[in-house]
Every structure is written in C-alpha cells, then in structure tokens.
Symmetry: C2
Subunit: 298 residues, 2 copies
C-alpha cells in the first residue's frame, strides 16, 4: 500500500481498500467449485458484486488515523464486509425486502434460489468471525474486534434495526424512531468499522471512542442520504429499484420532513462527525470518505 498523496481522494481510498480487502476475501473464501454444491460459487457471487467497500475503507483509514499500519486492520475490514454482505443477501430475500436487483445485478437468491440465499448469508456470517479470529495475531485484539463486530451485528445493532425497519411500514415517522432505526440498521456497523480499525491500529481508549462517535454520526448521515436517494434517484443512477421505501410506506426522513430538510440534516450530521476527528493525528482520509458518503449520488 503506497503512501497517499497530500490531498486525499475518496474514490482512490475506496479503490485501495477494495484491492486490499478483495485480495484478502479471495484468500479466506473457499475456492469456487470446491465443497458443497453451488455454495462456493454463490458465496463469491455475493461477495464480489462490485460493492463500494466503504466499511473496509473506513476501517483502514481509522487504523491509519491513529498511527497504525493499515495491514493490521485488513482482517477486521474483511470481516466487516462479510457481515455487511451477509446482511444484504438476507435483506434481499422474498420474506424481507424481496429485491431482484442489487448493484445492477440479479440478487443472490434470484440466481441460486432462496435456500442457498439463506445459507450464503449464514456462511458469510460465520466466515466473518472465523477469518477475523484466525488472522488477527494478538489474541486480546482479536477478542475486542470480534466483540465490536458481534455487538454491531446483533439484536442491539443491525438485526434490531432490520426489525425496526420491518415494523416501520405504515407507521407515522418520528425523529426518535427514525434515529433508532438508522442507528441499528446502518450506523452501528459503520461505527464498529471505525472503532475496530482504531483498535487494530493500537489506538488509545479516547481515540477508539472518538472514532466510534465519528462512525455513528457518519452512519446516520449515510442513512439519511439513502432515504433522499430512494426518493430522488433512478434505477439507472442507483443500480437498484428506487422509490421502494416510499411505495412500501416505510418510515424515512423524507417522509418526516421532506427532501430539502433531510439533506440539511445529513449535512449537520456530517459536520458533527468531522468534529469528532479533531483530536486525531492523521484524519484527512477519514474526512474525505465522510464527505464522499454524504455527497454521493448512488
């Protein structure tokens, strides 16, 4: 991983993270055609699907922000991406959001069937912990990283947010409910990405805490932007079906306060997340990624 040039460039940071993390994931996933039936192909189809690798990029940049070598965070970055991918595969299932298209391609269960869709998610979920614990040299760091990941993924994090999301259909949005939904559904795993990157980089406790707060606010901003894009984007620009949340009567910030105020809210959250970076020695890459997340158009 070469030194980055002076003015950080989010697309370049994402490409760098993709290259590192995809090489790592290629090593930890079983080779296609080995083992049980179509499972290994389906795992690779789900994982190598052109995702932005935002969470890995945040983990690597958080590691560097506290003075760590990014190599130290690659196993964790890969594990976070495996958890994220498992959640997308399950989220797309017919009993959940019932999506046929993801990043412009048919979803995993559309190609391999629903049973394999469930099992691909389950296999990636286990593989996240397996690869993390196996490839993090220090046992105490491995344990802290595994814990951060499991908490963010579970009932009090991502899964809780999914249930809030399911329950939000046809419910009048309130700011409090929306924040809880977004915190669980998206922000918990983004916060863990930053927190874990910092832990892998040998951060002091107050740095870990600062990066957790950064990731939490950025995650909330991310989800507000998602609501805006769902309301304003097209299938061609998004690579997925727009307007699904609105059509399903889901609770969103756009439904609560309209597009313009939702955009202003995302900008406020971005400012708050950037403020959390102030005490860190080398946070310019994280700041660039944060701006990119809020200014993206897909």
């Amino acid at each position: 991983m070469g030194a980055m040039h002076a003015a950080p460039d989010a697309p370049a940071l994402l490409r760098r993270a993709s290259a590192w993390v995809e090489a790592h994931l290629d090593r930890v996933l079983p080779p296609a055609g080995t083992g049980a039936g179509r499972l290994t192909e389906a795992l690779r189809y789900a994982v190598f699907a052109g995702g932005k690798r935002l969470r890995p990029a945040l983990a690597l940049a958080s590691c560097e922000a506290v003075g760590g070598e990014p190599d130290a965070a690659v196993a964790f970055a890969g594990a976070v991406e495996l958890v994220h991918t498992y959640s997308l595969v399950h989220d797309d299932l017919p009993a959940m959001d019932d999506d046929d298209l993801r990043r412009g391609r048919p979803t995993t269960h559309k190609v391999f069937g629903e049973a394999i869709g469930i099992l691909v998610g389950d296999a990636l979920h286990s593989l996240a912990f397996e690869s993390l614990l196996e490839r993090t040299p220090d046992a105490s760091v491995a344990r802290r990283l595994g814990l951060a990941l499991a908490r963010a993924a579970g009932v009090r994090g991502m899964v809780g947010g999914q249930v809030d999301d399911l329950d939000s259909t046809g419910v009048a949005p309130t700011e409090e409910r929306l924040e809880r939904l977004h915190r669980g559904k998206t922000a918990a795993l983004l916060a863990a990405s930053c927190e874990g990157g910092a832990i892998a980089g040998g951060a002091r406790p107050e740095q870990v805490e600062a990066l957790h707060r950064f990731g939490l606010d950025l995650g909330l901003a991310f989800q507000v932007v998602d609501d805006v894009l769902d309301a304003t984007g097209t299938a061609a620009s998004l690579g997925k079906t727009p307007g699904k949340d609105r059509d399903a009567g889901k609770m969103t910030y756009v439904a609560l306060e309209g597009v313009e105020r939702a955009r202003a809210r995302a900008a406020d959250l971005l400012a708050r997340s950037l403020a959390a970076l102030a005490p860190l020695p080398r946070s310019q890459d994280l700041a660039a990624l944060a701006r990119f997340v809020v200014e993206r158009d897909r």
Copy 2:
C-alpha cells in the same frame, strides 16, 4: 453444581447442563419486551423450546473429562447452543425444510412470521460470538473457542452439510456422500462442542484431539440414529413430523442399507467414539451421554 454420583445418568447430566446453560442464556438474551418489536420474544421462543441441550452437556462433560471445572465451559456451551438453535430456526423456514412443528410446538417462523424467523437466526448467530467472547476471561482461550465454533458452523461444517442435504434430494445415496453430509450437518458442531469444552478445561493438545474425534464419531452416530428415527418413529414419539426425509427422497442411511444395518452402523460408531475416550482421566459422563444419544427413541 454438585458432584455427580458414581454411576453417571445421562438424563441427569442433561438436566444439569440445561439448568446451567439456560440460566446463562437467560442472562445473555435481551429481556423480552425490550428493543425492537417482537424480536426479543421471538428469540426467547426459539431458545427456550425444550431442547435436550445435548451439545452443552457434551461441552461441560468434556471440560470435566480433562480435569476442568465445568463453570469454565458454560459460556462456550451457551454459544454452541445458540448456533445450534439458529440453525434449527433457519432450517425450518419455508425455503428450507418448511417445517411447521419442532419439539411439538409451532416453529418460530410459524408464530412470528418468516422475516422474523430469518432475523432470529441471524441474531442468535451473532449473539453466540458476542456472549462467548465477552464471557470467556482468557483472551487466548476465547479466540480458540470462537475459531472452533466458527469453523464448525461455516462452509466446511454445518452450512456445507445443509447444502449437501438440499442437494441430496432424489440422489442415490453412497456411503461417501452420506458421511460427508452427516459430518457437516451434525458431527462438526458436536465435535466442536467436545473440543471446545476440552479447551475451556485447559486440556493438553492430545486431549483436545481425542475429544474432537470422540465428538465427530458420536455426531455421525447421532445422525444415523436420526435417519432411523425418521423412518421408524411417530409424530407423538418424535415431537416432529416423521418420514419427511423419506417422503422428500432425501439421502439417508436407511435408504442406503435399511433400518437394521443402519442401527448396526450407529453401534459401531458409538464403539469407536468410546474408544477415543480411553486416555482421558474422567470420561464416564461423556460415555453415558454417548450411549444415551445412540439409544434414544426421539
């Protein structure tokens, strides 16, 4: 946990493990009615469903077999049971085995809906690692236990076995394919239960290895017995629908070689598993559990 009497009694060992592990699981599961919607109720419905707690009993007895205090293995025993429970909940889903009944009660997705069924499994899966890593004091032991559990649960273990099972419908059984299927679907997690109990109890490497082999053979025996019961049991005796494997054209030992030879095979595997216990200082409880597994009628 009082000292066991001289002649070990498998039902008493299972009751003891249930009491310990259920108290632990009650602590690590979020209280019902907290957090997201119906999720916390559904988690408890799935976990407190009258299971035998065989895997926890094996983990605790393996810990004691190498001279450890069983308390040291409770967090691991609970984690194994959470992984086992998540796999049952997903296995019962309409896209998988489509079971309405489990242990004589409606399955989780029948009560709470299919989306919650998927998410309950996912939440239990994360909670297994969260609770294990959080409540195992030694970081190096925690890492080894997490790794053993993740490997047994994943592509090369339980999930791989599920895919083999899906793919076995209408396929002529061979001994090799059946053993691979059973190894993944059942034996990998039973082997990990014994191996992890031994690690938690401070076992030497050759003891860990012996208990892994014990659990693997016992797991194969367990699955052969399952095939026999599916062919010979009734809904009342099993607490679930019998004959499903046969009706679905699934690959089983009964289909391969008939009930009597399958029973003889289970007895051989039991003998082999018991032989692996020979070098251990205190293995009588494990032997009693192994005999119970092979002689059960449900």
